[in-house]
C-alpha cells in the first residue's frame, strides 16, 4: 500500500524531470509519449491504490505512512508522510483521470506551438504537485504542493511569455495568490501553537476528542486564516481577479489548472480540515457567505462577457463559490461531489473552447463565431453536454451535485434561506450565460471573419477523443449520488460519511436546527430546474429567436450593462487602491529615498566619501617638511607631558 501510494506521485515527477532536462532533444512524439505515459501510470496507480484500499481487511480511518522525516526543529516535526482515506481516494482518481485526458488532448492542441517539451514538463510537474497536495499528511507538506501548483500555474499562464499580457497575467496570479498564502501560513503557525503539531491525524484526533465550545477563538482564527489561503487559491472574492487573466495560458492549462484541479485545492483544503471547521461554525459561515456571494457576483459578470475563455473563467469562479457553499453549510461531501462533477464538465467546456479556438486560429470573441455547429459536430455536441451539465439540466452530473449543494444550503446544519435563494438565483444566471455562449458560438448565422471562413474545421481525433470521454463523464458522473428524493441511495454521500460524519454530526448538534418548514428535496430540485429553465429560455429568446433584443436591452440598461462588461471595474479599483499606491510608494520612497538616497547615497557612497575626505584632511599633515614634523612631535611630547604632570 505504501509503495502504491508513492507510485501515484512518482511517475509525473519522473516525466517532468525527463522532459525538462532532455525534452529539447526529443522529437515531439517522444515528449508527448513520456508525458502521457506518466500521467496514465499515475491514473493506473491511483485506481490500483483505490482498489487495494477498498480491499484492506479492516479499513483504517485514514491510512498514513511516513516515508522519512522532512523537517525536525525542536517540537516542530513534519514528515514526508502520505495520508489516504476516502476523500483522498476521490481526489486522486479525479485529478489523475482529468489530468490524463487533458494530457492526451494537449498532444493535438500544442502540436504547432513552440516549447512543446517545456509545456509537457510543466504539466507533469503540476500533476506531481497537485497529487502531493491531495495526499499530504500534514499542513507543511500540503503547503509544498499548494505552492508547487501555484508555481506551475505561474509558469503555464506565462507560457507565451514574449507576449506582455501573458507574463503580466502570470505575475498577477502569483502575487494575488500569495496574499492568500500569507493567511494559510499564519493559520498553520497558529494551529501549531494551539496543538503543538501540524500532523493531520494527530490534530484531527485531538479535535474530535475536543468538547464543543473549547478553544473556539483559536480555532475560528485558524479556520478563517486557512480559508484566506483558499480564497486566494480558489479565486473567491476579493482575490478572484487573477483567474480571468490566467486565461492567457494555453487552453489545456486553463482546463486542467484553472478549472478542474488547482483552483479546487481550496475546497479540498477546507473539506480536509473539516474537523477543525466543525469546531468553528463562525469560520464556516464566512466560508458559506463568501462562496455564495462570489458565486452570484461572478455569474453576473459572466452574463456580459464576450470572450469565451473569460466567460468560462467567471463561470469557474462562480462554481467554486458553490463548492464553498456546500462546505460552508456543513455538507462537505456535497462540496466534494460538485468539485468532482465540475472537474469533468468544466474541463470539457474549456477543451471544447480550445477546439473552437483551434478551428478559428485563436479567435475567442463570441461575436465573431456562430454557426459552428455544422462544421464542428463533435465539439458542438460535447459543448452542449457540458452546458446542459453545468446548467443543472436534470439527468446530467451538474444537476445532481448542484442540487446536493442547494438542498444543503436549505437544510444543511448551517443552512440559511438567504444562501439558498441566492444560490438558486445564481443557478438561473448560470444557465443563461452558458446557453448564451452556446448559442452565440455554435448556432445562428456565421459571423466568422471572411478570411477565416475557409479554414474552419473540426479538430483531429487527438483532441476530439478526450472531449468525448469527458462528455461521457460529465453526463454520468452524477449517478454516483442519486438524491433521496429520486429514490436514490446518495451513494457518494454515504461513501464519504466515514470521513465527514463526526464533523457533520457535531455541526448539526451545535447549530440551530434548520428551518422546520424547509421544502423537501423535490421542491428544491423543482425550483432549481425552474430557474435553470428560465435562464435557458431567456438565452434562447435573446440569442436565437430575437437576436436584436440583447443589444436593444443593453442600450436600454446602459449603465448596468457597462458595469457588467467592465466587470464592476474591480480591476480598476484594485489598481487605483492597491497597485498604484504601492507603485508610487516603491518609486518615490523605496527607490528614490530608501535605495538611492539612503542606501546608495548615505551608506555606500557616503562611507567612501568619508574615507576620501578624512584622507584629504590627513594628507595635509604629511607636508614633507621635516621641521613641521618635528614641531608636531615636540607639541605632542609637551602635551603628553603636561597631561601626565597635571593629571
Amino acid at each position: 500500500m505504501e509503495v502504491l501510494l508513492l507510485l501515484i506521485l512518482l511517475p509525473p515527477l519522473a516525466g517532468a524531470v525527463l522532459n525538462g532536462i532532455f525534452g529539447r532533444r526529443f522529437p515531439q512524439a517522444v515528449v508527448s509519449a513520456v508525458a502521457c505515459t506518466t500521467a496514465g501510470l499515475s491514473l493506473l496507480f491511483a485506481l490500483l491504490t483505490a482498489w487495494t484500499f477498498a480491499h484492506l481487511p479492516t479499513e483504517p480511518a485514514p491510512y498514513v505512512h511516513s516515508y522519512f522525516t522532512w523537517i525536525e526543529a525542536g517540537a516542530f516535526r513534519a514528515d514526508f508522510a502520505l495520508y489516504y482515506d476516502r476523500l483522498t481516494l476521490v481526489m486522486t482518481v479525479t485529478v489523475t483521470l482529468v489530468s490524463f485526458l487533458i494530457h492526451l488532448y494537449s498532444r493535438g492542441y500544442m502540436e504547432r506551438e513552440g516549447g512543446y517539451y517545456r509545456f509537457f514538463a510543466y504539466l507533469n510537474l503540476f500533476l506531481f504537485m497537485m497529487l502531493t497536495l491531495v495526499t499530504a499528511a500534514n499542513y507543511p507538506l500540503m503547503f509544498v504542493g499548494w505552492e508547487g501548483v501555484g508555481l506551475c500555474s505561474y509558469l503555464l499562464i506565462g507560457f507565451y511569455f514574449p507576449r506582455q499580457s501573458a507574463s503580466d497575467a502570470g505575475k498577477k496570479a502569483f502575487v494575488v495568490t500569495r496574499i492568500g498564502d500569507v493567511g494559510f501560513t499564519l493559520g498553520v503557525i497558529l494551529l501549531f501553537w494551539t496543538f503543538g503539531s501540524v500532523d493531520f491525524q494527530y490534530v484531527f484526533t485531538r479535535l474530535e476528542a475536543l468538547a464543543p465550545g473549547y478553544l473556539q477563538g483559536s480555532l475560528t482564527a485558524v479556520g478563517i486564516l486557512l480559508f484566506l489561503g483558499a480564497v486566494g487559491k480558489s479565486a473567491q472574492l476579493p482575490l478572484y481577479v487573477w483567474l480571468p487573466d490566467a486565461m492567457e495560458g494555453p487552453t489545456p492549462v486553463s482546463a486542467l489548472i484553472h478549472a478542474a484541479t488547482m483552483v479546487t485545492a481550496g475546497v479540498y483544503m477546507v473539506a480536509r480540515s473539516h474537523a477543525l471547521y466543525a469546531h468553528a461554525p463562525l469560520a464556516l459561515e464566512i466560508v458559506a457567505i463568501t462562496g455564495c456571494v462570489t458565486a452570484f457576483f461572478a455569474a453576473t459578470i459572466a452574463l456580459a462577457q464576450n470572450d469565451l475563455k473569460r466567460l468560462l473563467a467567471y463561470s469557474t469562479i462562480s462554481q467554486l463559490g458553490y463548492m464553498f457553499v456546500g462546505c460552508g453549510v456543513g455538507l462537505f461531501s456535497a462540496g466534494i461531489f460538485h468539485l468532482m462533477t465540475h472537474a469533468f464538465f468544466k474541463s470539457l467546456l474549456f477543451l471544447a473552447a480550445g477546439s473552437v479556438m483551434h478551428a478559428l486560429s485563436g479567435e475567442l470573441d463570441l461575436r465573431k463565431m456562430g454557426g459552428l455547429r455544422h462544421r464542428m459536430k463533435t465539439t458542438w455536441l460535447t459543448f452542449l453536454v457540458a452546458t446542459l451539465a453545468i446548467s443543472g439540466v436534470p439527468g446530467l452530473s451538474g444537476f445532481f451535485s448542484k442540487d446536493a449543494i442547494l438542498a444543503g444550503a436549505r437544510e444543511g446544519p448551517l443552512g440559511d434561506p438567504r444562501l439558498y435563494w441566492l444560490a438558486t438565483l445564481t443557478a438561473g444566471l448560470t444557465a443563461f450565460y452558458m446557453f448564451r455562449a452556446l448559442f452565440m458560438a455554435f448556432h445562428g448565422p456565421s459571423r466568422v471573419e471572411p478570411a477565416q471562413e475557409p479554414h474552419v474545421h473540426e479538430s483531429g481525433g487527438k483532441m476530439t477523443h478526450p472531449l468525448l470521454a469527458l462528455a461521457f463523464l460529465s453526463a454520468v458522473a452524477g449517478y454516483v449520488s442519486l438524491p433521496k428524493a429520486l429514490r436514490g441511495g446518495e451513494w457518494f454521500h454515504h461513501y464519504l460519511q466515514p470521513v465527514f460524519a463526526s464533523s457533520e454530526a457535531l455541526l448539526s448538534s451545535t447549530a440551530a436546527p434548520a428551518a422546520a418548514h424547509a421544502p423537501g428535496g423535490l421542491a428544491v430540485m423543482g425550483t432549481s430546474v425552474l430557474f435553470a429553465g428560465a435562464g435557458f429560455l431567456l438565452a434562447y429568446l435573446g440569442y436565437v429567436k430575437f437576436t436584436g433584443l440583447p443589444s436593444r436591452l443593453a442600450e436600454y440598461f446602459r449603465g448596468t450593462y457597462q458595469l457588467l462588461v467592465n466587470k464592476y471595474y474591480v480591476d480598476e479599483v484594485y489598481d487605483w487602491l492597491f497597485v498604484r499606491p504601492v507603485r508610487r510608494g516603491s518609486e518615490v520612497f523605496l527607490w528614490r529615498i530608501a535605495d538611492d538616497a539612503a542606501i546608495d547615497g548615505l551608506l555606500v557612497n557616503g562611507s567612501a566619501q568619508a574615507t576620501v575626505g578624512a584622507g584629504n584632511l590627513l594628507r595635509r599633515i604629511q607636508s614633507g617638511n621635516l621641521r613641521s614634523y618635528a614641531t608636531w612631535v615636540l607639541l605632542g611630547a609637551v602635551l603628553w607631558l603636561g597631561y601626565i604632570l597635571l593629571r
Binding site: 604629511q622 614633507g624 617638511n625 621635516l626 621641521r627 618635528a630 615636540l634
Partner: protein
C-alpha cells in the same frame, strides 16, 4: 656637591636649545648637531639621577647612548654628504620630495 635640581635645569636648558634649534634651523648639519645636543641633555639627566640615587645603571645607559650616537653620527653624516652630492643643497626645506 651640585644639587640635582641644578643638573636637571642645565639638562632642560640644553634640551630646549636642541629642540628649538631642530625646529628653527635649516641647515642639515646644524639640525644634526641639535639632535646631538638633545641626546647629551638626556645623558646629563641620566648622570644626575645616577649620582643622586647612588646607582650606576644610569651611567651605563649613558655609555650606550654615546656609542649609539657615535654610530648615528657616522651614518648620518654619510647620508648628509650623499644628499648634498645629489641635490647640491643642504637646506632641509628642499628635501620634501616625499610629500604629495
Amino acid at each position: 656637591m651640585v644639587p640635582l635640581a641644578h643638573i636637571l635645569a642645565l639638562s632642560v636648558i640644553l634640551f630646549g636649545l636642541g629642540a628649538a634649534g631642530f625646529v628653527i634651523r635649516r641647515n642639515i648639519i646644524t639640525v644634526f648637531m641639535c639632535i646631538e645636543l638633545m641626546l647629551n641633555a638626556v645623558n646629563l639627566a641620566f648622570i644626575g639621577f645616577s649620582r643622586y640615587l647612588g646607582n650606576l645603571d644610569g651611567q651605563i645607559f649613558v655609555f650606550f647612548v654615546i656609542v649609539v650616537a657615535a654610530a648615528e653620527a657616522a651614518v648620518g653624516l654619510a647620508i648628509i654628504i650623499a644628499v648634498y652630492r645629489n641635490r647640491g643643497s643642504l637646506s632641509i626645506d628642499d628635501l620634501d620630495s616625499m610629500k604629495l
